[in-house]
């Protein structure tokens, strides 16, 4: 979309709108015709609206289903709004699952895990981008290879290691194996490589060391990439299921995704859907809040310097 179309029309001293003459307009005439609005809607807004609906509708459906009876969920008739909205499903879910304890466990594991992961990713990426050391390329390729290996492959070796160190059923046992993040290192390294080198050289001339350059120059300039990695890491830690399941041997150490299995019946149970949806809402809500908080950093960073 042309920038001129999105600018707020300026006003002259008298406060009247300055007319944009077609002759003086820098806008391509082909998009200012009578069908420019329809083009804008079809080419811009409509795909955005469709994309939003694809993302939002399942979440909305989940939230509404948690307020319905199972008969309103399992039916051929489309029941959009519950006839008698009720929190029964939430009460049933909390009777089966110790949400406060599980929530606390998940917050602890996610907060510590995500922060350490992010710090390691930032520092590793900085090293790969700006430091010269032997075997740098080889190590980076090894990280890329690690990115391609499914997590299931490391499950047994990780278990053997953590069990040997006495970490079964401990918070650190849940957190430790996931701390090395190939994805974060790769993404941030690619981002750091695109930063203007002269800014860093100027900082070096001013006597800034590696930490100074990293935290005063590189990190502020890479806010969107760091926020993206942070968000992905938080979601990843929060949703992690198989490792916390395998390494915990006591329900008091379980994280939310593991605890939610208590709401699921291996036998088909059509009556369980509202309770499952209620549980899903409880798990998803914190991540949505984190996303809403972080997305402004992503957007702000992406638009930085876009307009002079």
């Amino acid at each position: 979309m042309s920038l001129a179309l999105t600018r707020t029309p300026s006003r002259d001293a008298e406060g009247t709108r300055r007319a944009h003459s077609r002759h003086h307009s820098s806008v391509d005439e082909s998009i200012v015709g009578p069908d420019s609005w329809s083009r804008r809607i079809l080419g811009g807004y409509l795909p955005l609206v469709i994309a939003c609906l694809v993302i939002v509708l399942p979440l909305l459906w989940m939230a509404l289903s948690s307020l319905k009876t199972s008969g309103e969920v399992v039916t051929q008739d489309l029941v959009l709004w519950p006839h008698h909205p009720s929190l029964t499903a939430y009460l049933n879910a909390s009777a089966k699952v110790d949400f406060p304890q599980l929530f606390l466990n998940s917050v602890l594991v996610t907060a510590v895990g995500a922060v350490v992961k992010l710090v390691l990713a930032i520092t590793s990426a900085y090293a790969f981008s700006f430091l010269r050391f032997p075997g740098r390329r080889f190590i980076f390729i090894a990280i890329l290879v690690a990115l391609m290996v499914p997590s299931q492959v490391s499950l047994v070796p990780n278990y053997i290691t953590i069990a040997g160190l006495g970490g079964v059923n401990t918070y650190w046992g849940i957190i430790l194996p996931g701390l090395g993040t190939a994805f974060g290192t790769f993404l941030l390294r690619q981002n750091f490589m695109s930063l203007p080198i002269d800014v860093l050289e100027a900082a070096e001339m001013d006597g800034a060391g590696h930490l100074g350059r990293l935290f005063r120059m590189v990190v502020p300039m890479s806010t969107p990439a760091i926020a993206t990695v942070g968000l992905v890491t938080i979601v990843d830690e929060w949703n992690n299921y198989i490792w916390p399941l395998v390494i915990t041997t006591d329900d008091s150490r379980m994280t939310l995704p593991v605890g939610l299995t208590l709401l699921k019946n291996i036998e088909g149970d059509p009556s369980a859907y509202p309770v499952l949806m209620a549980g899903a809402v409880v798990v998803i809500l914190p991540v949505l809040i984190v996303f809403l908080f972080l997305q402004r950093y992503i957007v702000a960073g992406l638009t930085q310097g876009a307009v002079k």
């Binding site: 047994v156 070796p157 079964v168 198989i242």
Partner: protein, 460 residues
């Protein structure tokens, strides 16, 4: 109580070696669940009844790993409470996931790294892998020491866990498939209020059910349970009725490409692709029945309570025995669900305490309470089911059907990953119109490959 069976210290070299082995094993397991290879070697030969328990005193605390089949956590906890009051033994109930595959993943990892439970849920398709890994004990001696008498358990259910003259698990959360039908739809079609005696009979009923589609709003007369789930389980019913099966009875001799099996599968292939009175469920057929989208389906007895709760007063659900076939009308109902077993490599005191808990968990009174809460079958002959029938008359049909059940085909339950291969093959036939004979021939070679590489080396 957990048991550390790993060495106290890990050397760097052994750690790297184990990591390499673990990576290889996990890579294989990603395809078909945890593998059957074991450091302990293959299963021991000769029926011994397991280790001796003379002079052993039961431990005071044990752990029980369960996926809470049938949403059974609350009822299991209440049984545990009663057990503690009676015996003084504390049982820690640990959530080991939601599926039997989750339990397997956790149990396999524990064997590699060392913190084993004292009691673990063993599903119909998993216990034999543990036998081959030599990771569970034969229960003969330990249940004798715990004062448990197997003769009171339903014969068919106990037999499911027997191999080479040994008992490897005790039945607990046991189910069978049931024929579920929408009574209102059947009435509208002028059909009798019962399940069909044979699949041939249902083939004559199906057009009548389809004829009243406008009234009933059903899309299909019958819905085949989701293939990605346990297709191999419910389809055994039709295969047996036609004189076929995934393998010969109590044998590893694969018969999935026999004319009888092909004929049975063609019955459904025709129903789905030609006559179009049957559909294939994408997730859970029982949900579609509850929604009124199909008139009949086959599902586990464990779904009964949930279905009744969900439909409320919208319509009446009926249940009946599984239909027979042209060759056999009974027994054509496979057993299913899970039992409980005791791991190897833990203290005898804990094994004995676990056996005492098994005896209590599955005693006549508790098996009825468990059935009432979950919809699973009472596993004891002497169980007084009158209270169950009072509460839910339909469960009586499921209990009666236990007398005409048959142990599952070994090709399905004793071969790692066979269930997924069966599901893939059946999906090809029913949803992609693949040639039945060719698909089953291909499945046969796959299953024989699994037997040769993953089962045969562990049998002696």
């Amino acid at each position: 109580m957990l048991h550390d069976v790993s060495s106290a210290a890990i050397s760097r070299r052994s750690l790297l070696g184990l990591a390499g082995l673990g990576a290889g094993a996990a890579l294989l397991s990603a395809c078909s669940g945890p593998s059957t290879t074991s450091a302990a070697g293959s299963a021991s030969a000769g029926a011994t009844g397991g280790p001796s328990f003379d002079g052993v005193t039961p431990a005071k605390t044990i752990s029980f790993w369960s996926n809470h089949p049938g949403s059974s956590q609350a009822i299991t906890q209440s049984i545990i409470k009663k057990f503690k009051a009676q015996s003084g033994i504390t049982v820690n109930l640990v959530t080991a996931g939601s599926t039997y595959e989750d339990v397997a993943q956790k149990f396999q990892s524990a064997q590699a790294g060392g913190q084993l439970p004292d009691l673990v849920v063993l599903s119909d398709v998993w216990w034999f892998r543990y036998y081959m890994q030599d990771s569970i004990i034969p229960l003969g001696n330990v249940i004798k020491a715990a004062g448990l008498e197997l003769s009171d358990y339903r014969d068919g259910l106990v037999a499911d866990y027997q191999y080479k003259g040994e008992q490897w698990a005790v039945p607990w959360a046991r189910s069978t498939p049931l024929f579920y039908y929408n009574k209102n739809h059947f009435k509208a079609a002028g059909l009798p209020d019962r399940s069909p005696t044979s699949w041939e009979e249902f083939a004559t009923w199906a057009p009548k059910l389809m004829a009243v589609k406008a009234t009933t709003k059903a899309k299909y007369a019958y819905e085949i349970p989701a293939l990605a789930g346990y297709a191999g389980w419910t389809l055994q019913n039709t295969l047996w009725g036609y004189g076929g099966g995934w393998s010969k009875r109590n044998s590893f001799d694969i018969t999935c490409d026999s004319p009888a099996t092909v004929k049975a599968l063609n019955y459904f292939a025709d129903a789905v692709n030609t006559s179009k009175w049957a559909g294939v469920a994408s997730t859970a057929a029982i949900d579609d029945l509850a929604a009124g989208a199909c008139s009949a389906t086959i599902e586990s007895t464990g779904s009964l309570v949930g279905v009744q709760k969900s439909i409320g007063s919208r319509f009446q659900v009926g249940v009946g025995f599984l239909p027979g076939g042209p060759v056999s009308t009974k027994p054509v109902c496979p057993t299913g669900g899970a039992g409980v077993g005791i791991p190897k490599g833990i203290d005898k005191a804990n094994q004995l305490a676990a056996a005492k808990f098994i005896a209590f968990l599955t005693n006549p009174e508790n098996t009825v309470d468990f059935s009432s809460a979950t919809g699973y079958m009472p596993v004891r002959k002497s169980a007084d089911t009158s209270s169950l029938l009072e509460k839910n008359a339909l469960i009586g049909t499921a209990i009666k059907q236990l007398d005409v059940t048959r142990a599952q085909d070994w090709a399905r339950v004793f071969m790692p990953g066979a269930d997924q291969e069966i599901a893939k093959a059946v999906a090809g036939i029913l949803t992609q119109k693949a040639d039945t004979t060719a698909t089953m021939k291909s499945l046969r070679s796959t299953l024989e490959g699994i037997y040769t590489s993953q089962v045969k080396p562990h049998l002696n």
